[in-house]
Every structure is written in C-alpha cells, then in structure tokens.
C-alpha cells in the first residue's frame, strides 16, 4: 500500500509538470489549429532565463521567476511574428507551419548547445527560497519533496487563473470566439492579430513557469524540448484544444506511466504511452475531452 501511495504521489508530481507544458500547447492549438513544436524550446529557454537570472544576475528568486516568464512570453511572440505570421498571411498550407516550428525548435536548441554548452546545470539550493530548502515532507513511509508540492500548487493556481480568465473575462471570451471561428470574430470587431499575440504570450509565459519549475526539480539542460513530447501526447490524450483536457490528459498519462514502470517494467513504459496514444487516436481522436467536430480540410 505504501508503495502504491508513493507511486501515486510520484505520478501526480510528474503530471503537474506535464500539465503546465500541455496547457501551453493546447492553448495555441485551439487558436491556430496547428501544433507548435517550438513550445518545447521555449520551455527550455525559460529554465535558462531563470537559472542565469538567479546565478549570474544575482536577483532574488521571485524576480528571476518573473524574468523567465516575461522572457519566454516575449520569445513566443517573436517566434510567432517572425516565423508564423508570414505563413499565415500567405495562407500557407498547414504543413509549412509544422516544418517551420520544427526549424525554430532545432535552431533554438542548438544555439543554446553551441553557445552555453550541453552540460546540465542545477539550481544552487542556497539560492532558492527558504521553504524549498528543507528536507522532504514525510508521512510515515510516504515522502513528498517540497518542490513537488510547490509544482502541484503552482500548476493548479496557474490553470485555475487561466480558466477564469478564459471563461469570465472579455479578453478570454475574445480568445474563445477567435478559436471558434477566426473570420467571424474578426467581422464582429475582434482583432485576430491581437488575440493571436495574446495567446502566444500566455502560452509562452506558462512555458516559462514550466521551464523554471522543471529546471528546479531536475536540471537545466538544452535537450529539454524532448521531454515536452510527453506533454504533447498528454494534450492529444486529453483532447487538443481543451484546457481541462490538457490537465486531465497530463495527470492520467503521468499516472499510467508511473504505475507501469513501478509495477510492470520501466523499459516498456514509453511503449505503453505510445500504444495508448495510438489507441486513443483510433478510438476517439478528439481525445477525452476534445471537441467532437473535426474539420478535415
């Protein structure tokens, strides 16, 4: 039983990170209808922004966090303006977007490798806020790391705030409208360009949060965008374009992964994830909570 509970905690903790990453994907997907593969690289940059603000610039932790969030939001918008907007203006086929996103991802990842280097870095424990520095919290045989608890709480808060924003504010409604039908909302007076920039900025900011938290929990290294493949799968699993779906998909995926490696075998864990993905795509491509209508064209 102890082992089961511990694995449950393990899964939830990984799932929170997947969720933060997946939500960014889903948000952009709901508006732009394509998968922004560059998202992973933005997450990685967030971790580096946070790390260097803390160590090289020497600012306090909350400021470093803030810098990371604004930095990634800015980068996400820059990528959109430079790489995606020209394609949108030209009504380029959706294929071009994916290829460009891949190019952006390769460019960013390898720029970091070529300049800073591939060796991983770790957040110095003494520069972190005090409440993170203690020993893990223990309840009997169950052990919960402080950073894990923090991630869970932060993820929950971010997602709650986001959902309130989307559902209850005017801007949020504008985003929903544009996601539903860009042309019609433009006719209604909503500036699609503005909405797109907003969405990328929000997605980028979330990426920054995810990056710093991930960097704190594990390490900061340039190949981080590979990890976001999992969150990508989680977003599809839960339903691309649905925020609650991204959250649900992430937690479920992480729990399934953890239990498979805990009780069955680690080597087949990734295989399981992909099989579940394929199964979901075959049975219910819109995901657990995705929109049912699918525009084939």
């Amino acid at each position: 039983m102890d082992q089961f509970l511990q694995q449950l905690v393990n899964g939830l903790s990984i799932g929170s990170i997947y969720a933060l990453m997946a939500v960014g994907y889903s948000l952009v997907y709901s508006i732009m209808n394509f998968s922004n593969f560059a998202h992973g690289s933005v997450i990685m940059l967030g971790a580096y922004f946070g790390f260097y603000s803390l160590t090289a610039l020497g600012v306090p932790f909350s400021a470093a966090f803030g810098i990371a969030i604004f930095g990634t939001a800015a980068i996400a918008v820059i990528i959109e303006r430079l790489a995606y907007k020209p394609l949108r203006d030209r009504r380029a086929p959706f294929l071009y977007f994916i290829i460009t996103a891949m190019g952006a991802s390769i460019f960013i990842d390898n720029s970091v490798i070529a300049t800073i280097g591939p060796t991983p870095k770790t957040f110095p424990p003494d520069l972190l806020p005090a409440f993170l520095q203690g020993a893990p919290l223990e309840w009997g045989a169950l052990s919960v790391g402080r950073i894990d608890l923090t991630i869970f709480v932060v993820a929950a808060i971010c997602l709650a705030v986001l959902m309130v924003f989307i559902d209850f504010t005017k801007l949020g409604k504008a985003i929903q409208a544009t996601a539903y039908n860009m042309k019609a909302s433009a006719l209604m007076g909503i500036n699609p360009d503005f909405v797109i920039i907003l969405v990328f900025a929000i997605g980028g900011g979330l990426a920054g949060v995810a990056g710093v938290l991930y960097g704190m929990k594990y390490q900061v290294f340039p190949q981080m965008s590979a990890i976001t493949l999992k969150s990508f799968i989680a977003a599809v699993f839960g339903g691309l374009g649905s925020l609650p779906g991204a959250l649900l998909g992430s937690l479920l995926l992480a729990l399934i992964e953890t239990f498979v490696s805990g009780y069955l075998s680690t080597q087949y864990r990734d295989l399981f994830a992909f099989i579940i993905l394929i199964a979901m795509l075959v049975v219910r491509p819109s995901g657990i909570m995705g929109k049912d209508a699918e525009d084939k064209a």
Binding site: P86, G103, I106, N110, A114, F232, L271, F274, L281
Partner: protein
C-alpha cells in the same frame, strides 16, 4: 579515395530514403517524424536475412533488401490504416510515437543485439549497388509522380476537400505515398546496415527522421531533383565545414525557417532538372516578359 567513396555511398543511401520521404511530404503534404523507424525495420530485417538465414551468396543481399523493404512497407500499412484518416497533426504525432516505439522495441530484442548493437554484419553494400539502386529509385519515383497517382497526391496536398469532391480517393493516395516512402526507407536502412557493418537502434532515432525531412525541405517540396540536390548538399557539407560542426544544426534550423517563410520551393525552386522542366521554365519566363511588354504598351497607349 576510400573516404570519398564512403561519403558517396552515404549520399546514395540517404538519397533513397529522402526520395521516398519526398513523395510523402513533398508531394502528398504529410509530415512524418518517424521514418527513422521504417529505416530501422528495413535495416534489421535485412540484417537477419543476410546473416542469419544462410542463403547462398549472390542471392542473400537482394533477398535481404527486398525483405527489408517489404517489412517496412507492411508495417506502414498498419500504421496508415490507423492514422491516415486523421488530421495532419495527429498523423505527425503518431509517426513520432511510432518511430520512438520501434526504437524501444528494438532495444529490447536480444536476438538482434538490443541496445548493445549488432556488429560484424557482412559488407555487402558497395558503391555500384548503391548507384544502381539510386538510378532505379529515381526512375521509379519519377514515374510515380508523373502518373495519375502522383497527380492525385499533389491534389491531396493542395486542397484535400476539393480533391475528394473531384473523385480522388484521398485515403488511397495517402496510403500509397506512405507505403512507397516506407519501403524506400526500408531499402535505405538495409543498405546502411550492410555498409557500416554495425546496427544500433539509436542510429534511427528522431534526429535521423528530422535529418531526412530537412534534406527534403532544402531541396524544395515537390521537386525530385531538389531532393537529390538537398541530399548531396546536406551529407557532404558537414565534411567540408568540420570546423563549424557545433553550428551546423543551428544553421539548419534557421535555414528551415527562412526557406519555409521565404522560398518554400527550396534550392531548385520547383523546377525539375530535366529537358522538359527547363523548357517549361524558359516558356514561363518568355510568357511573363511578353505580358509585361503588353502591359507597358497598354499604359503608353492609354496615355
């Protein structure tokens, strides 16, 4: 000379996979992250046939290549059945998953060496074999593209819904493209294993799939001579620019963005390096010049 020959063989091997991928991505508009997986299947099946089955000498290698291509092609039929009806995005993710899944499975099969790798495979791939197969593949792909099937694929790429309404069996076109590209990737894999005489699943990871796609992009989507040019360039350039090895991928990434945004026709600009292709280019130029002259005359006439 052995070194230069080695590079030529690598170009030739990659070319076959790139030609296949060109059909899928360049002509049919489907993006695949998993063709490394098809190469892996081709490579390992071919290796089993050539080293473990004990066929007589001259029969072994052709049988191996065919087996590899067949295995990859059949696997792609399964994948295709499951995913080709979905939107492009989902197909992408599925191929990504497939590529990784193949690698994980191969890592765990001890019979073919697993993660340790399989060494001492016979050296059967020679410069001549590669050259002959390259020519065969180019002819094959050329004929496919210029046939009814090829035109259907382009229609699917351009506007799927309209193509469907015009009577094109979209699913069948996509499946044909996928199977052909997978089979060709399988051939390439078979040649690779029997060239470096060593196989390891990491050789076929997502980086390999991405490399192949970049070669297609550089050459220009929808151009066979472009794919050839792209492959030659991207396999030989790293040799020439060894000093900038660290920046190679940075430049590739940037180049992909620039190409997609600025010149999606890539190197060859959608022009095929054939007599008819060049004639078409010249004719288009002439027509444009004539049009400009007419416009100018009309303006002056109007004034």
């Amino acid at each position: 000379m052995e070194y230069i020959q080695g590079i030529a063989v690598l170009i030739g091997i990659n070319l076959i996979a790139v030609l296949g991928l060109s059909i899928l991505t360049g002509f049919t508009g489907l993006f695949s992250f998993g063709h490394g997986g098809f190469m892996a299947i081709g490579a390992y099946v071919a290796a089993i046939v050539s080293s473990r089955l004990g066929l007589p000498g001259p029969l072994a290698f052709p049988a191996a290549i065919l087996a590899g291509a067949l295995a990859a092609g059949v696997t792609s039929v399964f994948i295709g059945k499951l995913t080709l009806n979905l939107k492009g995005d989902y197909f992408c993710i599925a191929t990504m998953g497939f590529g990784e899944a193949i690698r994980v499975i191969l890592n765990n099969i001890d019979y073919v060496g697993g993660a340790r790798g399989w060494a001492n495979l016979p050296q059967l791939t020679t410069w001549w074999v590669v050259l002959v197969l390259d020519v065969v593949c180019v002819v094959l792909v050329w004929n496919l593209i210029n046939s009814r099937h090829g035109r259907n694929m382009v229609a699917v790429r351009e506007e799927e819904l309209a193509a469907q309404m015009a009577g094109v069996n979209v699913f069948r076109s996509k499946m044909t493209a996928l199977v052909v590209s997978a089979a060709l990737a399988g051939v390439a894999g078979a040649l690779l294993g029997n060239y470096i005489q060593f196989l390891r699943p990491t050789m076929f990871n997502m980086a390999k799939s991405t490399d192949l796609t970049i070669m297609v992009i550089f050459g220009g989507l929808g151009s066979i001579s472009g794919s050839i040019a792209g492959t030659i360039l991207l396999v030989s350039l790293p040799e020439v620019f060894r000093n900038f090895a660290q920046w190679r991928l940075v430049i590739y990434g940037l180049a992909v963005i620039v190409i997609m945004v600025g010149r999606p026709q890539g190197l060859m600009g959608g022009v095929e390096l054939t007599p008819s292709g060049i004639r078409k280019l010249l004719a288009a130029r002439r027509a444009r010049a004539r049009l400009e002259a007419e416009l100018k005359a009309a303006e002056q006439g109007g004034n």
